[in-house]
């Protein structure tokens, strides 16, 4: 077996009790050992099949989660290969983080249906199931043809073709120049290549960031409301909730997941959580709260920092402002109905977006809505413009991006153009994979992406 080792979240994504990351393939145990540290100190490779181990998943010496790892040895597993399942504490953020670390350590993201496909290919399914698989695939290829002509797919394809065509003509030019050295073909200059690569990079970056925005639209933005006590965080919370009371839902959180409410502001869904203030403290209980706040601030997608207009900035306020330097954030100046004592300049030096509200008389609602749309990138977001859908497409776009960057590096470090061409062709391959045109070997794995049988 020399197939790639694959991994994916194999439980329904959302707020389940636990989330399982399944890793399957030749290197499943080796990869799991890179990210998992057993409490017993025993490595997973030392375990027999059907054994579990308790420990932590680590990233850069920091714990991501406490997990239970279950080892299955080939052929006695769902896929018939070596399998490790990491059972985390659920919560989208934690589960995704663990998956990310697994992928960074050598696994590739499983296509939907790929575990099933491997199970099938390794003889884990019977003949009647096999017939079912074939029927589904043929039905699906017809469906795929129908999908391809739909507006949304068409718009995405157009955008990708636009990137691809530039790269194809670059590769074509480089090839012609190499294949016909005496045909008087205009020389390809380093500047011209650089320009094409940079344009491609920009366009792919845009695709990728819009994907993130799209995800935010669909799943909501992790938003932290921060500020010292009594500046009006709960008032803000109420104000936001008041945008559309019927949508406010209680989320069944876990101990780790601090999401308290989901609200819709304009077109944007915010997953709000309140936090403790940031201040130096000796109180051990409070210290935990402060540490957690800092952590939340560094991992969330949006911070609403609340300040009291009627008071001067405190040390605590300044600490908060400083911690927000690289975080998408909006400063919310509350209590504008009272006399202003706050020094806005200190805030505006660090935080670009400032909104004045008065929770009591409801001023500033629209300004806040606009600011959120702008900071979250949803302001100019057009869901019909053709965005990447699904992790598979995102991964292909990322692969194309990496190859374009590598081509750029190859060029700038002085390698010959044939090495650059190899990278450009990799990028084209990834884009073809994205649009489903590539009938190369990689795509054979790809076809199973949309069906899921026999589970």
């Amino acid at each position: 077996m020399s197939e790639k080792t694959i991994a994916a979240i194999s439980t329904a994504q959302g707020q389940g009790g636990i989330g399982i990351i399944r890793i399957s393939g030749e290197k499943a145990i080796e990869i799991a050992d890179k990210v998992f540290v057993a409490a017993s100190g025993k490595r997973l490779e030392a375990l027999e099949g059907y054994r579990a181990s308790y420990g932590k998943v680590m990233e850069n010496n920091e714990m991501l989660d406490e997990v239970v790892a279950i080892v299955y040895r080939a052929p006695k597993s769902f896929t018939g290969e070596d399998v490790v399942e990491l059972c985390c504490h659920g919560g989208l953020y934690v589960t995704r983080s663990v998956l990310r670390v697994v992928l960074e350590n050598g696994a590739v993201l499983a296509e939907p249906g790929e575990f099933t496909k491997r199970a099938f290919l390794n003889g884990k399914m019977d003949l009647s199931e096999a017939q079912a698989v074939m029927d589904i695939i043929s039905a699906q290829s017809r469906q795929a043809v129908r999908c391809a002509v739909s507006t949304r797919t068409g718009a995405l394809k157009k955008r990708i073709d636009d990137i691809k065509n530039d790269l194809v003509s670059l590769a074509g030019h480089l090839c012609a120049w190499a294949d016909f050295p005496e045909e008087d073909i205009p020389e390809v200059t380093e500047d011209a290549i650089t320009e094409i690569l940079e344009t491609a990079k920009e366009k792919i970056t845009k695709l990728l960031s819009e994907y993130e925005t799209g995800q935010a639209v669909i799943h909501g933005i992790d938003t932290v409301i921060a500020g010292r006590p009594n500046v009006g965080k709960s008032t803000l919370m109420n104000l936001l909730s008041g945008f559309d009371k019927s949508i406010v839902t209680e989320i069944a959180g876990t101990t780790r997941d601090v999401v308290e409410e989901t609200v819709i502001v304009g077109d944007v869904t915010l997953r709000l959580c309140d936090t403790a203030g940031i201040r130096d403290t000796d109180n051990p209980v409070e210290k935990i709260g402060v540490d957690r706040t800092k952590e939340r601030l560094s991992t969330c997608s949006l911070v609403l920092a609340v300040f009291d207009s009627s008071q001067e900035l405190t040390d605590e306020d300044i600490k908060l402002i400083e911690s927000l330097e690289d975080v998408p954030s909006i400063a919310i100046i509350n209590k504008t109905d009272l006399e202003r004592k706050l020094d806005i300049n200190t805030i505006s030096k660090k935080i670009k977006h400032i909104v004045y509200i008065s929770a009591i008389n409801g001023d500033g609602k629209q300004e806040l809505t606009d600011a959120i749309a702008e900071v979250s990138g949803t302001k100019n977001f057009d869901p019909c413009a053709g965005i990447l859908s699904g992790e598979r497409q995102r991964a292909a776009a990322q692969k194309a991006q990496n190859s374009v960057i590598e081509a750029h590096n190859t060029l700038s470090s002085g390698y010959s153009f044939d090495a650059v061409t190899v990278c450009v062709e990799d990028a084209i391959d990834a884009l073809l994979e994205l649009t489903g045109e590539n009938v190369s070997d990689a795509v054979v794995d790809d076809v199973f992406h949309s069906f899921c049988v026999g589970k």
Binding site: S2, E3, F120, L121, G123, L127, A130, V133, M134, D135, I137, S138, Q140, S141, A144, G172, C175, A176, W177, A178, D179, F180, P181, E182, E183, D184, T410, S413, G414, Y415, S416, F417, D418, A419, T421, V422, C423, E425, D426, G436, N438, V439, S440, D441, A442, V443, V444, D446, V447, F448
Partner: protein, 632 residues
């Protein structure tokens, strides 16, 4: 006509051009009693077009033919006039050797090699008929125009442009082969009667002009490399380049004459039905298709040491002779050129290569093989490569041995054949480096490493060559180890070298390999500080340097090769009826039944077979294997 039985042979080769020669030599060398037929004994190994061998990607093919034990590279070395490694500045993947050759000498050497070869008979005869016999040992019968009837176990067709050849020069058109030879006029009908699907392709060649009528004084000179590098891994030393080439340009006047007379071109006038190669266009093609281009380059190349004929590369044309004269005379240096042979187009019969398998045998005609232009390719080197593959496989089949199948992930020859038999040819197929997705791995410098073990296995590589090969590979390994484990101190001498090459200094010891990885640093740069460097052949240093410098990129390509090889392992039996596999789309069923791919990898390259179809095939295969055990 009165016929007579003229004998039984293992293998017949029809045609003694570049394909036929390699096929016949390989077959005879592998111990098969072989007869090779040529329509004209003085046209054996003829180069009716350019007086050169190799060029981009073609140079790779010549090296690969040589690595397998073929003859083209050695003979080109013996007849060489000038060698140039093209694309030196563009990276090792696209380095390609091209040699100007003495075309008369080349043909004479090749003919002599055929004459001296054991098990081989070279005969002048036009084959007029092919027929299947009732004798299962000798199932093929060929008849010559003189009435001689031969029987064979295998027949290799390598008829080039002779088959149904038709010459066009303006309004003038007549039956004929290249360089004033006769065409094979009857054999084509016999092949059609047999059931082959024959079609028409066309190609062309420029004029030859008298050297003394050319004014070279204002033309740019193109010299060879010093020292010239040989094609063959076995050639020790070539000596010095013997000739130079010259460069000139067409101009507005040339363009005007061609445009004024374009209606007299048989191609634009509609007289030629055959499809010509985009990659080797006639001058009128270039002017019509690239109307905004003001000038086109041409190379003036000598045809040999004992002739004054000069070849005008880039000036192929099928315009009338008097129009040709007019436009040649507009070109600098050619104002008074005397044309010895006019340019002409030639149209000929060939087959659809989709009807061939990877051994170049017809799928529907066991024992019948095709090679060269007959298979829809263009170029001497492409022809020779196929001839070698067809000859080897016909011989292996006679001997009851496993076929030699070259994969596209391992060679340009494999890529050429895979493209032909999987994608077909809508125009004469020319090899290019861009056709290989593995070109950083499939380099011309390592053709021996990739293919000599195969040549050895089939029996075309003798002990001496094999031992030389093993020694070279060992030297490469040892030197690779040495550069990776030898540390150079950060001396002033070293840093001076680094600075002079515009790269950063070092402050600690650094391995030779680390320095070679820098694009700016070559092996040669480091020789003053690399005191213990062993005395090795430059080809060893070349390979070590490329392997070190491009390691990251080579690794990427090797990963792709590995992926491809996994798909190659999934064999598709040749007796599948794809109509019976549910789930395949109709178009895929038809294409798969036509092409009969050997494995999933080849199937995935067929246009009209979608990724979904491939999955269905994988599933079908897996189920079939489970059901039938050894089956499939």
């Amino acid at each position: 006509m009165q016929t007579y039985h003229a004998g039984k042979y293992d293998i017949a080769v029809i045609g003694a051009g570049h394909a036929g020669i390699e096929a016949a030599l390989a077959s005879a060398r592998l111990g098969c009693k072989t007869a090779i037929f040529t329509i004209n004994m003085d046209a054996v190994g003829n180069c009716p077009c350019n007086p050169s061998i190799g060029g981009t990607a073609k140079g790779h093919l010549v090296r690969e033919i040589d690595a397998l034990g073929g003859e083209m590279g050695k003979t080109a070395d013996e007849a060489f006039l000038q060698m140039r490694m093209l694309n030196r500045g563009k990276g090792p993947a696209v380095h390609s050797l091209r040699g100007q050759i003495d075309r008369l000498k080349y043909a004479a050497i090749m003919k002599h090699k055929l004459e001296l070869q054991q098990n081989l008979e070279l005969r002048q005869a036009e084959i007029t008929d092919i027929r299947r016999t009732d004798d299962s040992d000798y199932p093929w019968e060929l008849t010559t125009q003189m009435g001689a009837v031969f029987t064979f176990k295998k027949v290799i067709i390598a008829t080039g442009t002779y088959l149904g050849g038709r010459i066009f020069v303006g309004e003038v058109s007549y039956e004929g082969g290249p360089d004033g030879t006769f065409a094979a006029t009857r054999f084509g009908k016999s092949l059609r009667d047999l059931g082959l699907s024959i079609r028409r392709f066309k190609t062309g060649t420029p004029a030859r002009v008298l050297r003394s009528s050319i004014d070279f004084s204002e033309l740019d000179v193109q010299c060879g490399d010093e020292p010239p590098e040989p094609f063959s891994f076995e050639t020790e030393n070539l000596g010095e380049n013997k000739v130079v080439c010259h460069i000139s340009w067409t101009n507005e006047k040339t363009k005007k004459i061609i445009l004024d007379n374009i209606h007299r071109s048989p191609l634009y006038g509609g007289m030629i039905e055959g499809i010509g190669p985009r990659y080797c266009p006639s001058l009128e093609d270039k002017i019509m298709r690239f109307a905004d281009k003001e000038r086109h380059q041409l190379f003036i190349e000598p045809c040999g040491e004992n002739t004054e004929e000069m070849y005008l590369q880039g000036m192929s044309s099928s315009l009338p002779e008097e129009v040709q004269l007019q436009f040649y005379h507009t070109i600098k240096g050619l104002e008074n050129a005397v044309v010895m042979r006019p340019a002409y187009a030639i149209e000929y019969d060939c087959v659809d290569p989709l009807s061939l398998d990877a051994t170049l045998q017809f799928k529907d005609f066991a024992g019948l093989y095709g090679a060269g232009q007959f298979n829809g390719s263009s170029g001497y080197e492409e022809a020779a490569a196929q001839g070698l593959v067809a000859g080897v496989n016909a011989a292996l089949s006679v001997k009851g041995q496993e076929p030699m199948i070259l994969e596209r992930s391992g060679s340009y020859i494999g890529t050429l054949i895979d493209d032909l038999i999987t994608k077909g040819a809508n125009e004469p197929y020319r090899m290019m480096t861009s056709r290989s997705e593995y070109r950083l791995v499939l380099r011309q410098d390592n053709a021996d490493k990739r293919l000599t073990p195969t040549g050895r296995r089939i029996g075309l590589v003798d002990d001496i060559r094999w031992n030389n090969f093993l020694r070279k590979q060992e030297e490469i390994e040892n030197e690779l180890y040495r550069v990776q484990h030898t540390t150079l101190s950060p001396t002033d001498e070293l840093n001076d070298i680094l600075v002079s090459r515009e790269t950063s200094k070092v402050s600690t010891g650094v391995t030779i390999a680390d320095l070679l990885r820098r694009p700016q640093i070559s092996y040669k740069d480091l020789s003053p500080v690399d005191k213990n460097r062993p005395d090795l052949h430059r080809s060893v240093f070349e390979q070590v340097e490329i392997e070190v410098k491009y390691a990251g990129y080579i690794k990427k390509q090797l990963d792709r090769v590995e992926q491809m090889e996994r798909m190659q392992e999934k064999d598709l039996p040749s007796d599948i009826d794809y109509k019976e596999i549910t789930g395949l789309r109709l178009e895929a069923q038809e294409k798969l039944n036509l092409i009969k791919p050997r494995n999933i990898a080849q199937a995935s390259r067929i246009s009209g077979v979608s990724p979904a179809d491939i999955s269905v095939l994988i599933i079908w295969l897996t189920r079939n294997q489970k059901k039938g055990g050894a089956q499939g």
